[in-house]
């Protein structure tokens, strides 16, 4: 429950805006309604000089309420308006209310209204007005007044929804969730800087590129000359490794799913090449890069859109969902440097702290946790290192991470291409080394089973669906608390004025003028440290930093080889096209 009495005013706000792909939002109008007095303020914004401040107060004595507030706050940023200080976003609150594992629940404003039995505008009408806002100007007087009237209708919907949702709001935790939308808005407006020439050439020549890929990159002959995939050849290559190629559930054909091929290919060069080839072909047949006029890709972050509270991103223009070599397209603006800062073994660290397993925490704090686990479990001798025991370390790593996901001996044996017995031995070694963790994780699952829900430390809740999936709840504390940590760190970074371009699972991509990179990295790390220290009661998780300047890219050697080949090929195609 949230106490509204501490606020002088409560403003319910909605914007209508255009959202051309790759661009920041283009606000058309805003309607705000004061909850207690019912006073309504409407401002048309699609003019040459929109007002320079919002028509409602945004300081700490007022509460700003919206549904998916990051959209409203993105409009604030586009207009140069200050962001509200106290925010309640009813979207995550509704998601939290209806967060049931494997039970799909609509999460729009219309769904929320219907959930409480309130009158809702029909979705066709809503789509019509949304299209009108997206269309862009010029707008006639009638269109303006209709669009503002529609916007006001949404605001009135918020006014009737709020009292219904009030009992479900979670006090300060709801405010904190709302606060995250400030950082998300800034990230969505900022976007990721990319190599504009690459993006342009990619969009223009990617279809032709596909033919070159088939001719020049398929050295193992997994496709025939017409480009048809040869299942028989792939099956033979997989059989040669002694593995079984899973089939799809419906059609019973061999599965070409990304995860399946990745898992089959590990450690087998021809299959690794096949995996990369399929990814390259998929990218070439996929979508265009959507790049804004300022050479930035804007892939909106959808916070709280997964059951664990993690963000979801629109995959199409999202560089981080594409094959890893395509990260080569990420390039800082001239005179700027990018820093990719991630938490090292974040989920492992969270598990160690929350379980109270001191041995696991010591392992986490060592230079190489996976080698330390091997030594702790007496599978590696004292003094072992990544260099001296690379294969065993890889197995220990898979085991240590797999345990956090409830991986069974069967799954582990498949992943590592080892016998079931060897996988069992690994899991038993983990159980011996970290008994407190195992006791804790069993308790976590039991709690979810008995009490009917699981909670993160900041109140993100998941309830089991009709079927209780033990593995989901086994992994929940790590995922949900990692998501909380990311949100807190994003908030701290935003407060410190760090320019975050993207959130990628457990990492932040920031961009700053090169001269200020050291300060910005220090600020970002300090924000991340503050978040983990707070959430983990005094334990600070490790962070790693990679810098990307004009002369470097986010690529390892293998990725660089593909990237350079694609870039050169695109240049060649462009030269042919222009006749140079």
């Amino acid at each position: 429950m949230l106490n509204l009495e501490g606020y002088k005013q409560i403003w319910l706000v909605d914007f209508e805006f255009g959202a051309p792909e790759g661009h920041p939002p283009a606000p058309r109008c805003v309607v705000a309604r004061e909850f207690h007095s019912g006073e309504e303020r409407r401002v048309w914004l699609d003019v040459d000089q929109p007002p320079r401040c919002p028509p409602y107060p945004v300081d700490a004595s007022s509460l700003f309420i919206a549904f998916s507030a990051q959209a409203e706050l993105s409009c604030h940023l586009t207009l140069g308006w200050p962001l509200p200080v106290r925010i309640i976003d009813l979207f995550p609150e509704f998601c939290r209310m209806t967060n049931v594992h494997r039970v799909k629940h609509g999460r729009s404003l219309l769904h929320a209204l219907r959930h409480f039995g309130l009158d809702a505008m029909d979705s066709e009408k809503k789509d019509w007005f949304r299209d009108l806002a997206l269309r862009g100007g010029p707008y006639s007087e009638t269109e303006r007044s209709e669009l503002m009237a529609y916007c006001a209708e949404d605001v009135r919907a918020l006014a009737v929804l709020l009292p219904k949702m009030l009992p479900y709001l979670d006090g300060g935790r709801s405010l904190l969730r709302g606060h995250y939308s400030r950082a998300v808005a800034a990230i969505n407006v900022t976007g990721v800087p990319v190599d504009a020439r690459f993006a342009w050439m990619w969009n223009k020549h990617r279809t032709e590129l596909r033919q070159h890929v088939l001719r020049e990159r398929d050295q193992d002959g997994f496709h025939d000359p017409s480009g048809t995939f040869r299942y028989d050849k792939a099956a033979a290559a997989i059989r040669a490794t002694g593995r079984v190629w899973p089939r799809t559930k419906g059609t019973r054909r061999y599965s070409l799913a990304k995860d399946v091929l990745k898992s089959l290919s590990e450690g087998h060069a021809p299959l690794e090449r096949l995996y990369e080839l399929r990814r390259l072909l998929a990218a070439a047949t996929g979508s265009d890069f959507v790049v804004g006029p300022d050479a930035r890709v804007r892939a909106p972050v959808w916070p709280y859109s997964t059951v664990t509270g993690r963000n979801q991103t629109n995959k199409r223009p999202q560089l981080f969902g594409l094959p890893s070599w395509m990260r080569g397209a990420i390039a800082p603006a001239p005179g700027h440097t990018l820093a990719y800062i991630d938490w090292g073994q974040q989920e492992f660290g969270i598990a160690a702290v929350l379980s109270g397993d001191n041995a696991m925490l010591s392992t986490y704090q060592s230079d190489d946790p996976y080698v330390a686990f091997g030594i702790e479990a007496r599978l590696l001798p004292e003094g072992a290192s990544k260099q001296s025991h690379p294969k065993v370390r890889a197995q220990l790593k898979a085991c240590a991470l797999g345990v956090l996901y409830g991986k069974t001996a069967h799954g582990l044996s498949q992943d590592l291409d080892i016998t079931h017995h060897e996988a069992q031995q690994l899991l038993r070694a983990h159980r011996r080394a970290y008994p407190t963790f195992w006791e804790w994780i069993e308790g976590v699952v039991t709690f979810a089973d008995i009490q009917g829900y699981a909670l993160s430390r900041l109140g993100w809740r998941l309830r089991p669906g009709p079927e209780f999936n033990e593995r989901t709840f086994r992994n929940y504390p790590m995922q949900a608390n990692a998501a909380e940590m990311m949100r807190l760190a994003a908030g701290h970074a935003h407060d410190r004025g760090v320019r975050v371009c993207a959130i990628v699972h457990d990492a932040f991509l920031i961009e700053v003028p090169s001269v200020a990179i050291d300060t910005a990295v220090a600020d970002m790390r300090s924000a991340m440290n503050e978040a983990s220290t707070y959430l983990l009661d005094g334990v600070t998780l490790k962070t790693d930093v990679d810098l990307i300047d004009d002369t470097s890219r986010m690529l390892n050697d293998e990725q660089r080889e593909t990237w350079e080949w694609v870039y050169a090929k695109l240049e060649e195609l462009e030269q042919q096209a222009t006749g140079q």
């Binding site: 405010l175 109140g459 908030g491 935003h494």
Partner: protein
């Protein structure tokens, strides 16, 4: 690869001074009034729309006061439980015959159990309940005697577990004996059963003492009603039943 700087920070440690302290209590369930001292937020009269001249001050304030820190007092963090889940009462239309899922805790209703005779008919894979008249008419080798236990899990799913009882010649199995022990234990506390392959018996897993176990919601049915729901359409009460006739070689 891009330049890597300072790949790792100094080893993480528990902060000596503990987590950062909250600056204001605004994030608790009772939001605080705006700062009354020299906070720049005061410069804006919140009953009026924001004035352009105050934008700079508000932005400056936001940066200076670290809003996220204000919103994260220690009290905000949860330990374990915070909410109670309200569920709607529902009635299960069918009651399956089967042991509880090995992953789930369950309770057994002490007042609901029954000794019965079952016939596992391989042709359709179903178990049929035989009345006393019928069981006397066929060989003991074709049937099995079981005790039915009614169990519920935490989602109020109801099922019936048929645990074998010794044959008249005294044949008994450890699996049956341990099954009865699991059910007897489940009459007083939440348990899970775990099959011990080496020993060929069920092990009993109980709740950790720290977990406050809720009361089970047993169905408000008599044992006869439960049996009717479990064996709906599969109760054989006459020797003229086609299955019995087939068993006797008469069809």
């Amino acid at each position: 690869m891009s330049k890597k700087i300072q790949t790792k920070q100094s080893a993480p440690t528990r902060a000596e001074s503990g987590p950062p302290q909250a600056v204001s209590s605004a994030a608790t369930s009772t939001p605080a009034r705006p700062p009354s001292s020299d906070g720049t937020a005061r410069a804006t009269d919140s009953t009026e729309p924001i004035q352009e001249s105050n934008i700079g001050a508000i932005v400056k304030e936001a940066k200076a006061t670290s809003l996220t820190r204000q919103l994260t007092p220690d009290a905000l963090k949860l330990d374990v439980a915070h909410h109670q889940l309200a569920v709607n009462a529902s009635e299960q239309s069918m009651i399956p015959l089967g042991a509880p899922n090995k992953q789930l805790f369950f309770r057994v209703a002490s007042a609901l159990s029954m000794l019965v005779c079952l016939l596992d008919w391989k042709a359709d894979g179903f178990s049929y309940l035989l009345t006393q008249t019928v069981q006397r008419a066929i060989s003991e080798a074709d049937v099995k005697f079981v005790k039915l236990y009614v169990w519920v899990d935490r989602r109020d799913n109801v099922g019936v577990w048929a645990v074998g009882v010794p044959y008249s010649d005294g044949t008994n199995y450890d699996a049956w004996k341990s099954g009865h022990k699991v059910c007897e234990r489940a009459k007083t506390e939440w348990v899970k059963k775990r099959w011990n392959r080496q020993m060929g018996v069920y092990d009993i897993v109980t709740l950790h003492p720290s977990v406050e176990a809720p009361k089970p919601n047993f169905p408000e049915l008599t044992m006869e009603e439960v049996v009717e729901r479990v064996f709906e359409g599969r109760i054989i009460d006459s020797v003229d039943h086609p299955i019995i006739r087939e068993l006797q070689g008469l069809m």
